[in-house]
């Protein structure tokens, strides 16, 4: 690019020179000069700067200063010269030199364009670089550049240099060399020689050109070909490339393969393996959130309601349900002196919940995978074994060794699901069982199917069968599985009920099936809820019917007791309201109040119900009056002397009558031979025939449990305001009849009721008046500036304003001063002129007078 420096304009013009500062006069203390600013109010702490002023002095000083500076400048105006450089951007420090030059160049161009070539359309200014047209250079591809042209170019032929720079010597020598020819023909002139040379070089040049073009074509062709295969090779190893080239016919197939591989998911970086510590922390966190959730549910929706009613309703709300904009910002609130961040926690919880969901899904996926593997194994198994026999049959226990091996593998898979209760003998039994059992089971379609599937196996085997059934019919494997498993839950409950009612009850198996039931419940909470609800409702209904017909109902059977227990295992009984546990509570209540106690079995069942009731309320510490009534009734059964009691027993117990001394010991001394051990649940179903001593032992166990329950109750309800009144009947009974049994209960129940503050209403927040929604400026308060920079900015702004005003005032004063000066100039000029005119007139008059005098003289 040609550099062009053009000095745009050189102009001389007058610019006022900076004036010298004015001198200070001492302020004269002339009292007439002093002006005092009267203050209206005396404000403490205010420093007054302007209470005294010297207007005359300051004015004269200002005028003096102007005279010294402004007037001087005014006088000197247009009277001296200055050099001004008006080249573009000369004083612009922002422009870099290059930019400056470029701009100047364009300006120059424009100017020339404007003037000369305004109508010249064809001729375009060609930009060059090193003498070559830039346009051409752009057209050229870099392929050419990359070629070794430049070298060739640089290598000037010796001949050429000689001819060019040899001062004609080369030519001469050539001439001498070609003398023979010249002699033969005719001697060529120097001009001819030069022309020849030129032609030659041109020819060479042309050849080179064509050669280059050919090369160019070839490279372009190569490029194209390369491009066509380039995308195939993008992800591939050079090896593949080679095969690609060699096996042309196979390309399609291979191509497909390559693409498949290309699209195949690459191994993604897995999450960092969590350390045991982290895992523990996460687990703890999860449990904490769940626990918090549970507590929230325990508090119930009563609280929620209270919160909800307090929403603000604006006075300009038209009750049309329209809300201007959902203001989801959290209001700042304090609770117990702490910043209330509930909302955020909730959000967090939600997130946690989501995460959980994700985790669950993952788990499910994992399970799927596991199952998939299992199925694979299964498939192999089948392939192998189909040949000999379908020895998947249950009876063929001579399982081959390899299956044993697989059994071990299987065991590992299974062990992941239920928390392993690693007891050695169990394990052995399990393995043996596994060897016998087939690996796939169809989901039972009806209850009888399930019964067929499970009956005749040991409890561990049954669990295993169920486990495998669940895995084989996981809902993710097939669409219909979900419905099947949902039905299976109902069947399972029925089966459990059957197990509990058969004689003798098979509670071990029930216990073994619990993990599966829990798993199913976690999978389908709704179906589980429905199933349990139906059972509860049916049982409650039948009890109600018997009550209506007979007046009294028998105690619920062991299957109901087991169901209630399972309910407690599956659903949280601490919730304020729960679709399953609340009806279960009511069932317990019904059983504890309406079912007749006529035998020791009934006592036992009642005690089981009490245990369950206590379990139900143990976390929430809710009061269960029926439980306490029943315990009192049970204790009443132990009392032989029914007179003069200081308490009342209520339904289902009676004060007197038959079966009122069920728990009275036949032989008071039998307690010496009794030792405490858990009562078998089976005795609730049917008490085996026993000797009187055994019966007494049984009674003692029942009484012991009953007393223990009472003790637990006293712990549980310790904080209730009516604690003493609740336990007063039990206390009276124990004190009167069994004073030496369980002293700690008596100790726990205070003789006198504890003291309580009288009730008052909750302090109610005053209901706010309906107010118009205030207009809220979101960034209010930011104007003042909080940061240092903003403050500085504000300060400067203010200063600028003040300065601006001051400057304006000064300028006005200046102009006024100048105008005054101009006027005085004009006046003085006029006076001068008048004086001169007068003078002229005077001189003329004297002349005239002289002339007249002369004329008179002449006349004379």
């Amino acid at each position: 690019i040609n550099k062009t420096i053009i000095v745009h304009q050189l102009v001389f013009c007058a610019v006022p020179l900076p004036a010298a500062g004015g001198d200070h006069h001492p302020i004269s203390k002339n009292p007439f000069e002093v002006k005092i600013n009267r203050k209206k109010f005396d404000v403490l702490g205010r420093k007054s700067k302007h209470d005294v002023g010297l207007p005359g002095v300051s004015r004269s000083r200002a005028i003096q200063k102007r005279k010294d500076t402004l007037l001087k400048e005014f006088r000197l105006k247009d009277k001296n010269n200055t050099f001004i450089d008006r080249r573009f951007g000369e004083y612009d420090s922002k422009l870099t030199p290059e930019e400056k030059i470029l701009q100047r160049f364009t300006l120059e161009r424009q100017r020339t364009q404007d003037r000369k070539d305004m109508y010249n359309l064809n001729e375009e200014e060609e930009l060059t670089h090193y003498g070559q047209s830039l346009a051409e250079m752009e057209k050229m591809t870099d392929v050419i550049d990359s070629d070794s042209d430049s070298e060739e170019k640089g290598l000037l032929s010796a001949e050429l240099t000689a001819t060019h720079f040899g001062g004609g010597g080369g030519l001469l020598r050539k001439k001498s060399a070609g003398d023979d020819e010249e002699e033969e023909h005719k001697p060529r002139s120097r001009q001819e020689l030069i022309e020849e040379l030129i032609i030659k070089s041109k020819q060479e040049k042309r050849e080179r050109q064509t050669q280059k073009e050919e090369a160019q074509e070839l490279t372009e062709k190569l490029d194209q070909e390369w491009k066509s295969i380039q995308n195939l090779l993008a992800h591939k190893t050079p090896k593949a490339e080679r095969t690609d080239e060699t096996d042309k016919p196979k390309l399609d197939q291979y191509d497909m393969m390559v693409r498949e591989l290309g699209f195949e998911m690459k191994a993604q970086p897995s999450e960092k393996l969590k350390s045991a510590e982290e895992l523990a922390r996460e687990e703890r966190q999860r449990l904490q959130t769940l626990e918090a959730d549970r507590l929230k549910r325990m508090m119930g929706d009563a609280e929620e309601d209270a919160v909800q009613t307090n929403t603000h309703i604006s006075a300009d709300d038209m009750n049309d349900g329209f809300i201007l904009d959902g203001d989801d910002r959290k209001t700042l609130a304090y609770k117990d002196g702490k910043w209330n961040i509930e909302g955020e926690e909730e959000e967090k919880e939600d997130e946690d919940g989501d995460e959980e969901g994700g985790e669950e899904e993952e788990e499910e996926d994992d399970e799927d995978d596991a199952e998939g593997e299992e199925d694979d194994e299964e498939g192999e198994d089948d392939d192998e074994d189909d040949a000999d026999e379908d020895h998947c049959d249950l009876q063929s226990d001579e399982g081959s060794e390899d299956e044993d091996g697989q059994g071990a593998e299987e065991e590992q898979v299974c062990a992941e699901e239920p928390p392993a209760v690693s007891e050695e003998q169990k394990k052995a039994a399990q393995e043996a069982a596994k060897a016998e059992l087939p690996y796939t089971f169809p989901a039972p379609e009806s209850y009888s199917d399930l019964k067929q599937l499970l009956q005749g196996h040991g409890s561990e085997q049954q669990r295993l069968i169920l486990d495998r059934t669940l895995k084989c019919n996981h809902p993710s494997l097939s669409a219909g599985n979900k419905a099947k498993l949902q039905k299976l839950f109902g069947f399972l409950l029925e089966y459990v009920g059957d197990l509990a009612t058969q004689n003798p009850p098979d509670l071990r198996t029930v216990s073994a099936l619990i993990p599966q039931i829990c798993g199913l419940c976690q999978m389908f909470p709704e179906a589980a809820c429905k199933a349990v609800q139906t059972l509860l409702s049916d049982s409650g209904h039948s009890m109600e019917e018997t009550l209506e017909v007979k007046g009294r109902a028998p105690m619920p059977d062991l299957d109901m007791l087991v169901l209630l227990k399972i309910t407690a295992l599956l659903f949280p009984s601490s919730d304020f309201r729960h679709p399953v546990t609340t009806p279960a509570f009511l069932f317990l209540s019904q059983a504890l109040t309406r079912c007749a106690v006529v035998s020791l079995e009934d006592v036992c069942k009642g005690l089981v119900l009490c245990c369950l009731a206590l379990e139900y309320v143990s976390l929430s510490q809710r009061i269960f009056p029926e439980l306490l009534n029943f315990l009192l009734g049970l204790l009443h059964l132990t009392v032989s002397d029914k007179h003069n009691m200081g308490y009342t027993v209520v339904s289902p117990f009676r004060r007197q009558g038959k079966s009122c001394d069920l728990l009275v010991l036949k032989d008071p001394n039998v307690s010496h031979s009794w030792n405490r051990k858990p009562i078998s649940l089976q005795t609730a179903h049917r008490l085996p025939a026993q000797s009187p001593v055994e019966r007494d032992h049984y009674r003692l166990s029942l009484i012991d449990s009953c007393l223990d329950l009472v003790k637990r109750c006293t712990w549980l309800y310790k904080d209730l305001p009516s604690y003493a009144h609740i336990f007063q009947p039990i206390r009276a009974l124990l004190l009167k009849h069994l004073p030496d049994l369980h002293r700690e209960i008596l100790d726990a129940i205070p003789e006198k009721p504890s003291q309580h503050a009288p009730l008052v209403f909750k302090k109610k927040k005053p209901i706010p008046l309906k107010l118009f929604t205030p207009k809220i400026v979101l960034d209010y308060g930011k104007k003042r500036g909080n940061t240092k920079e903003e403050k500085e900015r504000e300060r400067l702004k203010h200063k600028y304003k003040r300065e601006f005003k001051g400057a304006l005032r000064e300028i006005r004063k200046d102009t006024r001063f100048l105008a005054r000066e101009k006027l005085s100039d004009v006046m003085s000029r006029d006076a001068e002129r008048k004086r001169k005119v007068k003078e002229l007139y005077g001189s003329l008059a004297t002349q005239e007078g002289e002339w007249k005098a002369l004329k008179r003289k002449n006349r004379k």
Partner: protein, 514 residues
Amino acid sequence: MASSTDSNVKGENSQVSYKKYINTKTDRVLQSKKHANDIFDVIEYLQSEKDKEVIFATNACSKVFCQLFYRGDLYVGDLPEEEDLVNGDRSAEEKYRIFMRHRYSNCVELLLENIGHKAFQVKETSLCALMKFVAAEGKHPLQNLDEHYNFPRELLQTLVEHLLSEKEDMSLLISRFQEFLEMDDVRYYVMSSVRDNIYRVMGRNKKAVIPVYQNNVFTLLSTINVPSEASKMRHFLVRQDCKFEHKRAFEQMWLVFLKFKLPSNMYKKILVILHESIMPQMSDPTLLIDFLSAAYDIGGAISLLSLNGLFILIHKHNLDYPDFYKKLYSLLDPSIFHVKYRARFFHLVNIFLSSTHLPAYLVAAFVKRFARLSLTAPPTSLLILLPFICNLIRRHPSCRVLIHRPSTAEEPCDDPYVMEEEDPAQCHALESSLWEIKTLQKHYHPDVAKAAMKINEPLTEQEDDISELLELSTFELMERELKAERKTIPLEFDTATELLKSSREVLGVHFSLE
């Protein structure tokens, strides 16, 4: 197989044969007086072992004698002895009538005996036959009495006597008998005969309790309904014109019945129907006061039930019953929540305490006592009780201190209420607070807890309606809970591995699987 078919055939044969036999005999008796003696054979069948034969014979007898009544073939007037018949100089016609009259009384005796037969069908047919005789006798009186008094009272009285057996429960037969009581004259005479019967039987038993008899009497009495106006009485078994003092007879009958000592379940039965079906039909219900106060003093459920009658007497008949509220107060004990008549009781108590003119101390005493008792109540009762207590406090604003005592809010104190005190004026209820309701705020049932929460804030003006809660049963509560729609079902998060293994195990501590 063969033998059984044989016996069947035989049975059929015998059946056919006895039917044919009886039919022919009946026909012969009715056809001509010559065969009058055949009636013996028919009557004999009334004592047969086989129920079917008895039934058939009964029907035949009723047919024969009704026919005879119609023909006037039965002797009218005082019946001479049968032995005298031979000697007496009477016409053959008269002899025949006397003979037939004797057979008729034989037949009636046997039928009355059959009322105590073990088979119900026999009883029923006998009863129907006897009632037919009663109707026939009413139309064709056997005694020559005045026009207005020709109802066969003796027959009906003996029939009633047999109905009110002292040994057997006759309720089924009595309910069958009920249809005859639709007839106004029958009813009237039954009432008077029942009264006489009670007098006689109870006097004989020296006023001791005879449950079966009294039960029968009660069953009979409770079926009797007197129409409110005499003009409506149009159904008569025997056409008559005279007016009966039904109400009076009804009243006397009941009073006599209630005068004697009754078994306790009988008290309950009577008291349940007393206010609805007995009191309105009496001409002077205040006469029941003796019975009611006796019942009220018995205690327990009977006292609760007698409240209703007492209330009607106090309310409608201006009866002055001293210390009514005091007694009512002492009636309240934990058992009231468990008795069958809970709904009725609460309904009544609600009415008794509905007056706003009751003194505050009394209402406070009731409120406090109810609150104390609520600690032992099942949820169904609590759902009545808590709104009820709130209603009482609403009605009597001076009782508001029970739930809101701001002056001494801070310092704790003992409960000044004395539960054992029987006099509501002395129990210091007004100085107490309802801590029991506070306790119930932690009740396991969400609705109860919510109802108890209401005392935390000033009560609303509007009273809660408890009438629809009165009959609530636990199962209904449960159904309500089951039907409620839920969005989510929370689950227990720590999954269980065994039946008796959970975080808060109580069952497993005391019980084992084996």
